[in-house]
Subunit: 336 residues, 2 copies
Amino acid sequence: MTAPLLVRAARGERTERPPVWLMRQAGRHLPEYRELREEYTFREAIEDPEIAEEITLQPYRRYGVDGVVMFSDILTCLEPLGFDYHIESGVGPVIENPVDGPDDVARRRGDVRDELSFVADLLDRLSESVADEDAVLGFAGGPFTLASYVVAGGVDHRRTAVRTFRARHPDAFLELMERFAGVVAEYLQMQADHGADAVQLFDTYAGVLPPADYEQYVRPLHREILDSVDLPTVEFVRNMGGRLESLAATGADVVGLDWTVDMTRARAELGETPVQGNLDPSLLFAAPETVRDRTAEIIRAAGPEGHILNLGHGVNRDTPIEGVEAFVETAQEWEW
Amino acid sequence: MTAPLLVRAARGERTERPPVWLMRQAGRHLPEYRELREEYTFREAIEDPEIAEEITLQPYRRYGVDGVVMFSDILTCLEPLGFDYHIESGVGPVIENPVDGPDDVARRRGDVRDELSFVADLLDRLSESVADEDAVLGFAGGPFTLASYVVAGGVDHRRTAVRTFRARHPDAFLELMERFAGVVAEYLQMQADHGADAVQLFDTYAGVLPPADYEQYVRPLHREILDSVDLPTVEFVRNMGGRLESLAATGADVVGLDWTVDMTRARAELGETPVQGNLDPSLLFAAPETVRDRTAEIIRAAGPEGHILNLGHGVNRDTPIEGVEAFVETAQEWEW
């Protein structure tokens, strides 16, 4: 049996066209999602495998994307460490028991497979419902991003709280991240055991650290996490332009590129390492011809080997369907 | 007469030690500022030259910095284009008449020297009160950053509104930025005429654009603005790692570096172009020895020619005085 198109690209193979999926493809930009969500809270939707499966499959049915990313949340990993949270409408996540100081990082360590079994159930279902040529994608939040939420107590756009915490309490900061890394590694292994074809580590905000701090604190943990997973892995961190080789040095199979990186330059810096990305999500609001042109530029610059087409970040909630269609179709109609 | 230390560094000269100043050095982290601000609103403080002078001089007296940046706001340039705004405590600026669509970018064009004469008065005062060996610094917000506020109607951390506007209405987006560029150029010329020794263009958020869009829309306007000013200029845009040469290509005398750029690498990419930066502002919360070590690493990596020591972004409001002292003293005690 041939591996899914996305997995072949993740291995660095030449593919007949780039596989395509979108970060946050299952979500608010889809009318069928908004309709379904009227009946369930976000937490209910991600914790009920049947509802989560339905939401996961919505963009798969509509667009025929090659990667089917499970509907879940990067914050699910907070629970096995005893952090409670809820989503406040219009605000975002609120951590009910945030880190209260350097002596408050040693929380309980719950059983990941037990506490997050709903994700295993979801992946079991998706393995059945997704065609063999398409890839089921799992994911997890990374240790810095998780730490940023529990230190700030919720959304903190500039990540000031966690950056200050790392300056004032470097040992506690590292301990907190190590605890998350342990949970994340176990969580991704569980996803592998339940049929994920590839997984993405979203340490989206770790790029707010200076290069030396990223290297010292974060990269070793990413390496540890990614080494422990026996599947193709994607490493995604924003604002790493000028230091992409740090991402490749985590041992990730694929480096995810945000939209502020020029694809030609990324290829030159990363050599043969496969890449994913990298259209600016806000460009999906442009006229469909513009979307097609900008998408084609990325595909051409990336070339035929080891490229997974994606946005440079998640789909915005008000994104027009026509923009997403133009993006996906450009990949689907491509011929190398 | 010898030029101020900061101006010599801005010209690329070898200096006996790096000149030092901090973005947002006059502000909330200083107890004397917080005390004075109890009596005046932010707008009152920036629009009264006597109060603004006092605030400007507070960090100069306390730390003896080499650059004395006028106390003002990047949003002052909104007024000559007819955008009204106020600062909402705990929220930030609120634009009272934001851009309502692509047909709403052609506002009135007021007289900059008339409407912003309080800034000229402030600079006249500072020229008297600042010693000849120290530099009076002016500044302005850049066209993209200004556009981001008037399109969003206020703070918009991800700049989603302006990014979407540029995708949907590229012509109106460019027209809006061109209008701001005209005002900014005139404003910086006025600052030069009233005794500023150098000026900084803060287009802080323009790095959220993909490289191709930065090149197409923003860089020509920066070049136009900077070319029109007969003073040493600093160009500051965040998240430009991996494309620093775009900043140098604006014709700026000095490239400002945020804290996510490695100084050694920046020097390798920029060649002889003078640089400013780049300590992570959150590191000022660390133990003073750590602040000294990290600051010394930057000074060593930058070398003795054409380096102005600064943070990689503005001082945070809760920053401890000891952290700022350790930072400034490291430069003041340096000997090449």
